[in-house]
Symmetry: C2
Subunit: 407 residues, 2 copies
Amino acid sequence: MIRMNSHYKKLKASYLFSDIAKRVSAFQEAHPEMPVIRLGIGDVTRALPEACIQALHKAVEEMASEATFRGYGPEQGYAFLREAIARNDFQSRGCAIEADEVFVSDGAKCDTGNFQELFSTDIAIALPDPVYPAYLDTNVMAGRTGVFSDGRYSGLIYLDGTKDNGFVPPVPDQPVDLIYLCYPNNPTGATATRAQLQEWVDFARAQKALILFDAAYEAFITDPAIPHSIYEIPGAREVAVEFRSFSKTAGFTGTRCAFTVVPKDCKVYDEDGAAHSLHALWNRRHCTKFNGVAYPIQKAAEAVYSPEGKAQVQAIIQGYLENASVIRNAMAALGFDCVGGDNSPYIWVDGRSDSWEFFDRLLKNAGVVCTPGAGFGRCGEGYIRISAFNSRENVDKAMARIQKALA
Amino acid sequence: MIRMNSHYKKLKASYLFSDIAKRVSAFQEAHPEMPVIRLGIGDVTRALPEACIQALHKAVEEMASEATFRGYGPEQGYAFLREAIARNDFQSRGCAIEADEVFVSDGAKCDTGNFQELFSTDIAIALPDPVYPAYLDTNVMAGRTGVFSDGRYSGLIYLDGTKDNGFVPPVPDQPVDLIYLCYPNNPTGATATRAQLQEWVDFARAQKALILFDAAYEAFITDPAIPHSIYEIPGAREVAVEFRSFSKTAGFTGTRCAFTVVPKDCKVYDEDGAAHSLHALWNRRHCTKFNGVAYPIQKAAEAVYSPEGKAQVQAIIQGYLENASVIRNAMAALGFDCVGGDNSPYIWVDGRSDSWEFFDRLLKNAGVVCTPGAGFGRCGEGYIRISAFNSRENVDKAMARIQKALA
């Protein structure tokens, strides 16, 4: 008899964004006269940069001729892309990351979800709360938690993000083996200072722990004091893996390209305490379960680093950051406490009420979709996340509707 | 201290195709005057069908404009593709598969590798030998085997493929929970008859077992009596998942699109014997750890089902099948027993010697790369796999070189 992975039974019945989609569909059916404006799921809306479009067309033409056709590429990604990433995203900031430490993939969600496979099932895991649900759910599926009760899974160490700590929780006062961090944060939009990240790196080194650092939103950092990469922090090469994505920078949510950096200095330990190379382990996993990203897509990602590509991406980011500023100012003017929106596309709003109730109020009275903070964990209760990913026109319209509905 | 998944330590040191690549590189460096001809790894060489190229260009243009831009799509794939697949690959053959039972992904390697996550770690698994290494390695990583010794992992039920059974092993005489089957087979090129597949379906139904059926090579079937899909077999909807890919049909190895069919009639059982929907379980996994295939790639895959696309794919397949016939005839003329090559792009050759020794002989004396059968398991020892994926010119040249070297 084929028996299931019973850990799946511990998962909450449905996925946050599916719940939202259902409520939005129901509202749209009931109110066809009021088209909803989506500031919920963090999906980009602007066209791909022209440099990427050109690179895609050119690569497609290569696939059209036997002489230039590409079949299987290296599972880890083509050297042209890995080198462009290492040079532009890391070496240019003084981070000693080499091209062969970069693993190209089809999404940061996949990579952050898959990475836990490399570890023993009985490690102690620290996760922020609120948190991007994929970190949590993939560990539940792997059997690293107990049951869900009162908004939390037993067996995990939750790092409470609160107004008091500016949604940047301090290092815990107990031993931890694996730590998930995300800055600029999804969902709160909070950023971590160099000193705060140094504390985490020092903590991890002292514990021989590992940090999984999600930097999918680094391109939105405007404050020059805030680190873009964990590798700007001394010691991080020994204890940190970094996840990046082209989704939110170059608008690749529907084009699919991301990458993960696994420095060769990172170690994992076996049951005898012997050290093994984390890079070798991830390489084995990547080559066994993944077959690389489509060649035209990798060429499009490479184009992000061309002079034209950089300028075009910068203009897109700037547009979203202006939206973020409009949203934050509008919500603040209505008297709501806000975090994020300055170095992040997300604005985290204290709704001073139940999250889902506030979500429903914005949907029903303003036709605006946000994301209820409670969907990201117990500490998210009372908050909503508003995303700046939309056109300026829609953002202005949404804020006008919200002002009218809540004033 | 971050502890590793120690099951990785059981994996053999390196992956078959990496071993081959190393030997080929070493030979090429030593013999730059003799360019090798690659009939090893099953990678296509012909350009993408023109219908796919056109669809790609058109979809890229959609991504260039905000009005037609696509961000996140449905994780399971766009309806236009799922419907085209269900209609053309299944309903047209009388298989009752609906569009929402089709999950689009970036590769059959990923899907066949990931699917085991849905099951308990203590199930009894039957695997063919020889076998595509990804089925095996992903179960090793998940802890479903003991150690590797004398060419096999303990804890698995190996289904011996031998000359006597035509490389179509019969159902085992012991209880099994999960069964991997692949027809037309990789690596042997053998195909299973309707009666043989019916035996497997009946066996699985009697045992409440599940069949993972890899049909990545179905497009190469020329004999009208051989089933293309497991769903042509009565009862299969209750006990079989099918994996398909555009890699070998439309030349998508570097473009990346595949799909998995999970019928809603398939069940898995929990520790209390209660039945759960396998479709719901895979859907949860897919949505949590995957973010869909790039929109332009899905449009290219859809074009495979257009009248032009079908004709172009058929011409490509026909070309590879002609290569296969040339290879099989040449090897048979040299006195080697061969399987496959008629309904498959692979020819499985009894080299009457150690696999790696024969591999080295072909490489060193003929500059031809094949795949040593021993890399696919103990029953592959003594055999090599020759792939028909190359130009006709190269295949002719390779066979002439082999004839000269071995005559």
